[in-house]
C-alpha cells in the first residue's frame, strides 16, 4: 500500500511538474474555475445567488461563443457553508486540478486563509467588493484582487453620495451622520475612515456598535433618536439589517435617510423588514434587474435551454445574482485579455494574473459586453488591484431596487496613502519586497513593441 501510494504521489508530482512546465502539451483546451460555494447554512441566500450568477455567465460563454476563443470554461463546486476550514479543505481538494484560472470564494474569512496559499501556488484570488483593503496594493499582494470596491472606497463612495443628497460635499458641514456598524472586525474596519472624512468635510459622525447578531437594537436606535442625525449609514450583516430597518420605523426615523453598505444591499436584507424597508437606499457596484442585454441573454440562452443555475427563476436579476454575473464577466475578460498576450489556450494561474492586472474595460467595452448600466467600468493595474470601480445607489420600493444616483467615483487618491502604509507594514512583517510595477509595465510595453516590429 505505501509503495503504491508513493508511486501515485510520484506520478502526481510528475504530472503537476509537467503541467507547470508545458501547459500546452497534454490537455484539451479548458480553463477551470474551482468554486468554494455555499448553498447550505445561514448565508445560503447570498451563496446560491452569487455562484448561480457566476455559473450562469460561464454557461452563457460556452453556449453562445463556444468558450473564450475556443477555450472551454469548466468549473466544479465544493460546499463550504461559509466556514473557513471547509473553504481551506475545498482549496486543498481542488487546487491540483489542471488549468485553474482564479479562485472566487466570496467570503472574507476564507479569502484571508487563502492569501498565503494562492501566493505560493501562483493563482489569482478574486475578492469582488470585499476582502482585505490593503490587498488593493498589487505591489505587495501580486495575486489578490479585491475588484471594484474595497471597504475604504465604499466608505468614501457613501459620503460622496450623501454629499449629493445634501446639495454638495461642502453642504455636509455641520450635518450629523450616524454609522450603525456590526460588532465584528468587518464592522469596525471603516471607523478610522469615517472619522477622517468627518474631519475633512466638517460633519459630525457618531459610530454606534450593534453586537452580533444584532436582533435587538432598541437602545442603539434610542441613541440615534436623541442624536437626530441627518443620515444613518447601515454597515450591517445578516439579520442585523432587517431589524435595523424595523426598529428605525418604530422609532420614527425615515427609511429614505438610511443608506446601506454592500453587505446590507440585497433583497434578503429588505424583504424580511416588509414595509419598513420602503424607501431604503443602499450602495452597489452593479445595478439590479433584468433590463441589461447580458442578463437577457442569460435568461434566453441559459435558462431557455434549461441550464440555469438558480432554482427560482424569480431571483434572476437580484443583487447577488447580478453580482455573480458581473464576477463572471470580470473573470472571463481577464482570461480573454491574458489570451491576447499568451495565446488562445489553457493559461496558467500566473498568466491569468497578468490578465487581471490588465483588466481595463471602458464604458464602450462594457456596452459591447451587453452590460451597459449593469456596471460602469474597471481599470486594474499592477499597482491598483481594485480597479477604480464606480458605485451607484439603489432604492427599495417594496418590490424591487431602482437606481437613484449616477455612477459615483470614490475619492481613491486620498485613500491610497492609507492603503499603501498598511501594505508596506504587511510586506515588512513578512519580509516581502514590493514589486516594481513601473519596471514590469515597461518590460511589457517593450515586449509588445518588439512583437509589433517583428510582425
Amino acid at each position: 500500500m505505501p509503495l503504491t501510494t508513493r508511486l501515485r504521489a510520484a506520478l502526481l508530482a510528475g504530472t503537476v511538474m509537467l503541467a507547470a512546465a508545458a501547459p500546452r502539451a497534454g490537455w484539451a483546451d479548458e480553463q477551470y474555475f474551482p468554486l468554494q460555494s455555499y448553498r447550505v447554512g445561514p448565508y445560503a441566500a447570498g451563496g446560491t445567488g452569487f455562484f448561480g450568477g457566476f455559473i450562469d455567465y460561464l454557461n452563457l460563454i460556452n453556449a453562445r461563443d463556444g468558450g473564450v476563443n475556443g477555450v472551454k470554461l469548466t468549473w466544479s463546486e465544493g460546499e463550504t457553508q461559509y466556514e473557513v476550514e471547509r473553504g481551506v479543505e475545498v482549496y486543498e481538494r481542488l487546487k491540483s486540478r489542471p488549468g485553474i484560472a482564479a479562485w472566487n470564494p466570496l467570503s472574507v474569512g476564507i479569502a484571508y486563509a487563502m492569501i498565503d496559499r494562492i501566493t505560493a501556488d501562483r493563482v489569482p484570488l478574486v475578492t469582488i467588493n470585499h476582502g482585505r483593503t490593503d490587498s488593493t496594493d498589487g505591489r505587495v499582494f501580486p495575486y489578490v484582487f479585491p475588484l471594484l470596491l474595497n471597504p475604504y472606497s465604499e466608505t468614501s463612495g457613501i459620503i460622496q453620495y450623501l454629499g449629493t443628497r445634501a446639495g454638495g460635499l461642502d453642504k455636509l458641514k455641520g450635518k450629523t451622520i450616524a454609522v450603525l456598524y456590526h460588532g465584528s472586525p468587518y464592522g469596525k474596519e471603516t471607523i478610522p475612515i469615517y472619522a477622517q472624512l468627518a474631519e475633512r468635510y466638517g460633519f459630525t459622525v457618531a459610530q454606534i456598535e450593534v453586537p452580533h447578531p444584532g436582533n435587538e437594537q432598541q437602545s442603539q436606535w434610542l441613541t440615534i433618536r436623541r442624536l437626530r442625525p441627518d443620515f444613518v449609514v447601515l454597515r450591517g450583516w445578516g439579520v442585523m439589517n432587517p431589524v435595523a430597518l424595523k426598529t428605525a420605523q418604530k422609532t420614527g426615523f425615515p427609511a429614505d435617510r438610511i443608506v446601506g453598505n454592500v453587505w446590507s444591499n440585497s433583497e434578503e436584507d429588505v424583504i424580511p423588514a416588509g414595509d419598513a424597508a420602503k424607501g431604503y437606499v443602499a450602495i452597489t457596484t452593479q445595478a439590479s434587474g433584468t433590463a441589461y442585454p447580458v442578463i437577457q441573454e442569460v435568461v434566453g440562452k441559459v435558462y431557455g435551454a434549461g441550464n440555469g443555475n438558480l432554482a427560482d427563476r424569480k431571483r434572476i436579476g437580484s443583487v447577488y445574482h447580478n453580482l455573480g454575473v458581473l464576477n463572471g464577466i470580470l473573470n472571463v475578460e481577464a482570461v480573454r485579455i491574458a489570451q491576447g498576450k499568451f495565446g488562445a489556450r489553457t493559461l496558467t494561474g500566473d498568466e491569468v494574473r497578468w490578465g487581471f492586472e490588465h483588466l481595463r474595460l471602458d464604458e464602450a467595452r462594457v456596452a459591447a459586453l451587453g452590460a451597459k448600466g449593469l456596471f460602469h467600468s474597471i481599470n486594474v493595474t499592477c499597482a491598483n488591484h481594485e480597479g477604480e470601480g464606480r458605485v451607484t445607489f439603489q432604492q427599495w420600493d417594496g418590490a424591487k431596487w431602482t437606481v437613484v444616483s449616477d455612477w459615483i467615483a470614490p475619492d481613491w487618491a486620498s485613500l491610497r496613502p492609507i492603503i499603501e502604509a498598511s501594505a508596506t507594514a504587511y510586506a515588512k512583517e513578512h519580509g516581502l519586497t514590493p514589486r516594481d510595477c513601473a519596471a514590469e509595465e515597461a518590460a511589457d510595453a517593450a515586449g509588445k513593441q518588439a512583437a509589433a516590429a517583428a510582425r
Binding site: T5, V84, R93, S96, G109, A113, I115, S184, P185
Partner: protein, 344 residues
C-alpha cells in the same frame, strides 16, 4: 454528573503499547513520506489540532466531570497569546512561545474555573459560556490583541524551530504531531497520577472525595488550568499550523460545541476518545464529501450533497450513541474484548 459513564480511571496505555508504537511509526515514518499535501493540509493538521483540544476538554469534562462550553475561548486565548508573544518578543523560539501561550490560556482557565468552586453541572456550563462570550468581546474590543489590524484578522508567523523551517504542509504536520504526542504523554502521566485519581473521585462523588481527604477546590482549579493549557496550545496549532490566519469568528460557540461533541462521541474519560471523536467529527465528514463527489461527479448540486452527508452523519451519531452511549472508545474496547475472547 452522575450520568457520566464510569470509565476506567487508568488508560489502557501499557496494554496497547505495541499498537501505539506502530501508530507512531506510521505517523512519523510512513505518512510523511507518502502523504499528499491534501492529506496534511486538509485532513491531518486540523484533525490533530482538534483532537488535542478534545484531549484538553476531556481532562476537565471526562475526568473531573466539570462541563465546559468555553473551549473555543481558551483556543482563542492560546492562539492570540502565541501570536502576540512571537510578535512582541521577536527572539522567542517557537516551542517557548507555544508553551507560554499554553500558560496564558491556563491562567484564563484558572479565572474561568473559580465559579466551579460553587457551581456544578449545567450552572457551571452557563458560567463557562460567559467566558466564551467575554473572550469574543475582548478580541473584538481591544485592538492591541490583534496588533491594531484594521480588520481584526492576523496572519500567523512562520513556523521555524531551531533554524529549521517547517513551513510546508509536511513540516506543519510534523510540528503538530510532535506537540500532540508530547502533550498526550503529559496528559497520560497526569491522569495516571494520584492527581488524576483525585479528578475521577471528584467526578464520581464530590462529597465522598472530600471525606477521604481530596482537596476538592485545588483539584478543580488544577483541572481547569491543565485543560485550558492543552486547549490553548491546540488553539495555537489551529491558527499557526492549520489556518495560518486567525479571526475571532473562528473561535465561536459552534467550535466549543464541536469540541464537546468530539469528547462525547469519542468517549468521556479516555485519552483515545479525543482522537477517535476528532476522527469522527473532523475527518469523516470530509471523507463523506469526497466519496459523494466521487460517486456523483462534478455536476451534482453541492448543496444537496451536503444535506445528504449531514443526514448520513446524523444517523451515524444516533446509531452510535444507541449502540454505545460511552462513545467510540468503549465500542473499540468491546470489539477488542470480543476478538480476544474469540481468539482464546
Amino acid at each position: 454528573m452522575d450520568a457520566l459513564p464510569r470509565a476506567a480511571p487508568r488508560p489502557h496505555l501499557p496494554a496497547g503499547a505495541l499498537g501505539l508504537g506502530a501508530l507512531l511509526v506510521l505517523a512519523y515514518g510512513i505518512v510523511p513520506l507518502t502523504g499528499t499535501s491534501y492529506l496534511f493540509e486538509a485532513l491531518l493538521t486540523p484533525f490533530l489540532a482538534l483532537a488535542l483540544a478534545g484531549l484538553g476538554l476531556n481532562l476537565l469534562t471526562g475526568y473531573a466531570g466539570l462541563l465546559s462550553l468555553g473551549s473555543a475561548a481558551f483556543m482563542a486565548v492560546g492562539a492570540y497569546a502565541a501570536f502576540n508573544l512571537s510578535l512582541r518578543l521577536p527572539g522567542l523560539p517557537l516551542p517557548a512561545s507555544l508553551l507560554l501561550a499554553g500558560f496564558v490560556a491556563a491562567l484564563a482557565g484558572l479565572a474561568a474555573g473559580l465559579p466551579a468552586l460553587r457551581l456544578r453541572g449545567f450552572y457551571l456550563a452557563v458560567s463557562t459560556l460567559a467566558v466564551q462570550f467575554f473572550v469574543a468581546w475582548a478580541l473584538n474590543r481591544i485592538g492591541w490583541i490583534s496588533d491594531d489590524s484594521p480588520s481584526g484578522v492576523i496572519t500567523a508567523p512562520r513556523l521555524v524551530v531551531a533554524g529549521l523551517s517547517f513551513d510546508d504542509p509536511r513540516g506543519r504536520y510534523l510540528v503538530s504531531l510532535t506537540v500532540v504526542t508530547l502533550l498526550t504523554l503529559v496528559a497520560w502521566r497526569l491522569v495516571s497520577s494520584p492527581t488524576g485519581r483525585n479528578l475521577v473521585a471528584i467526578r464520581d462523588n464530590e462529597t465522598a472525595a472530600r471525606l477521604v481527604g481530596v482537596k476538592v477546590a485545588r483539584t478543580k482549579l488544577l483541572a481547569f488550568a491543565a485543560s485550558s493549557f492543552v486547549i490553548g496550545i491546540a488553539g495555537a496549532l489551529w491558527a499557526f499550523a492549520y489556518l495560518r490566519t486567525v479571526e475571532p469568528a473562528g473561535f465561536n460557540l459552534d467550535r466549543s460545541f464541536q469540541i464537546l461533541f468530539i469528547v462525547i462521541i469519542g468517549g468521556l474519560g479516555t485519552l483515545r476518545g479525543a482522537f477517535l471523536g476528532a476522527g469522527f467529527i473532523v475527518v469523516l465528514p470530509l471523507l463523506l464529501a469526497r466519496l459523494g463527489a466521487a460517486l456523483l461527479g462534478d455536476g451534482f448540486d453541492s448543496g444537496t450533497l451536503e444535506m445528504v452527508q449531514r443526514i448520513v452523519l446524523g444517523a451515524l451519531i444516533v446509531a452510535l450513541l444507541i449502540r454505545e452511549p460511552a462513545g467510540l472508545a468503549a465500542l473499540l474496547d468491546r470489539a477488542g474484548r470480543r476478538l480476544g475472547r474469540r481468539a482464546a
